[in-house]
Amino acid sequence: MHPIALEVDSLSKSFGGGRALPWRQGKAPVPAVQDVSFNVPRGEIFGTIGANGSGKSTLVRMISTLLTPDHGSIRIFGLDAQRDELLARRLINRVSPDPSFFRTMSAYENLLFFARIYGLGKEEIRRRTKEILGRLDLADRIHEPMTHLSRGQQQKVAVARAFLTSPVLLLLDEPTTGLDPVSKREVQHFVRRVRDDHDATILLTTHDMDEAERLCDRIAFLAGGRIVAEGTPLELRARAANGRPIDDVSMEDVFLGLTGRRLEEDEEVLVHG
């Protein structure tokens, strides 16, 4: 198996522009991801932190083969994500911020479908579903329609959907959004355990600084679609210390030092600005 799980090289993506339509010529394309490059070695948890609209989800969608990059390349365990799309897809799965299920179907019916299209047999799906939902404290709700589950419980089923296919590269796009603190800790514990026990590599996007620091081996800060800093949490805090003891420097301070704004301010600008 290739030692580098994920190689992202000079990746760019813009939206809009309407070049094909004469009456939309004037609208300039909006860049979402600009010239992003990074490598994630096998077995690492790599975090990308940024405000809403910083390009985190666009990046994950491109790695998931759901968006075609304008420029650059993505290699998953040496496979080109575009040219060897089908093979690359066997190695990955993704948790999105929205749970996204057939809401009238039960949790089990949903998991059965999404695991079967990865080639898993019914017996294996039943066994793994029981095991994973048991760890996420949701085993007793498995046959209830998704509409009967809370937002947090639905998100746990979404986490189970991704883990069920045992991906070697797991893309977690804000996986704990909408979870209460206890559920959040359960999911975070589960993520660590999967990495330690099952040889998975994980790309985690979040705007929760504590979560990133707790889970990630290395972190990249995204702002305006670009990586503005990359390193281990310790390296990043050391870079922002400016003579202060490292223990007094938080990841929020790092973000402030790199962008001149607090993460919450960036999000407020995006929501209200």
């Binding site: 198996m1 759901l66 057939f102 299209i117 047999g121």
Partner: protein, 282 residues
């Protein structure tokens, strides 16, 4: 959990992957059984309302009893084939629109399953579902009409339906591209495809009554040949041998349309991926 080598090389058989879509559609259908009831009632009422026109002509004496019986069968076949066609087209269009609405389409399209197997599974369900619903409408409609089936060649009619279903499924995939390209109005736009087929294919009348330029479209619609073939088998008693020309035309449509529909769907998927249109709507 499986070790890495198992994960890398694990892949289901082609048939099992396709059947996953059939199973999903079946589970969805079970949850929405009330919708099925609505469509069944609509199909029965539509079939009866149109076929009673033939009864009315016979009652008025505007046509002979024999001609009225032929007309009953003509309209009955038209409404039933139309019920089947629209059920298959609806199934594919609705599920694409549904997946967009629920946001599951991203998870479905990023799975390591070939698009051909994905669409095959959806088409198998749509064809079986459409055929079952149409048979039920047929059985209920027979309670209202005294139709003479002594001359019917069931094998011929069945052969036309089976061979014609390939091109019907391909048309359904082609119209299913609309909700993929137009997230908000694509499902409604598939009605245009259905309405156009209804107009040009001779569902309720012979295509000869259409203006010449519309007859050219009738020539290009597989539904025209399905209706012709089933009417020939059920009204005139034509067997498989006599239906060779119609079956050949339908087979050609199937052979041509199946790869075209797959290519168009794949192109639309590529377009949606370039423009970011797969993102959840609603």
């Amino acid at each position: 959990m499986a070790n890495m080598s198992e994960r890398v090389f694990a892949s289901g058989s082609a048939w099992a992957l396709s059947m996953a879509f059939v199973e999903r559609q079946t589970n969805l259908w079970k949850r929405y059984w009330a919708w099925e009831l609505v469509w069944l009632v609509y199909g029965v009422v539509n079939t009866l309302a149109i076929t009673f026109i033939a009864e009315e002509l016979g009652r008025r004496g505007e046509t002979s009893a024999d001609a009225a019986n032929r007309l009953v069968l003509f309209l009955l076949i038209g409404t039933l084939v139309w019920a089947y066609l629209s059920a298959v087209l609806d199934d594919i269009g609705l599920v694409v629109g549904w997946e967009r609405w629920e946001g599951t389409i991203e998870h479905t399209l990023m799975a390591p399953v070939r698009r051909s197997l994905h669409l095959l599974g959806m088409c198998v369900f749509a064809v079986v579902h459409g055929a079952a619903r149409t048979l039920l409408i047929f059985a209920i409609a027979l309670l209202f009409f005294d139709v003479d089936f002594s001359n019917v060649d069931w094998l011929g009619a069945g052969a036309v339906l089976v061979v014609g279903s390939v091109s019907v499924a391909a048309l359904a995939v082609l119209s299913g591209v609309l909700p993929l390209l137009y997230p908000e109005r694509g499902t409604q736009m598939t009605m245009m495809v259905q309405a156009s087929l209804l107009l040009v294919s001779g569902v309720y009348y012979e295509v000869e009554v259409l203006p010449g330029w519309l007859q050219a479209f009738a020539f290009l619609s597989p539904a025209t040949y399905i209706l012709d073939g089933i009417r020939a088998a059920m009204i005139d008693g034509d067997g498989v041998a006599s239906l060779g020309g119609t079956l050949g035309a339908l087979a050609l449509f199937g052979v041509a349309l199946a790869p075209v529909s797959l290519a168009v769907f794949s192109w639309a998927e590529g377009y949606a991926k370039r423009t970011g249109k797969l993102k959840r709507q609603g």
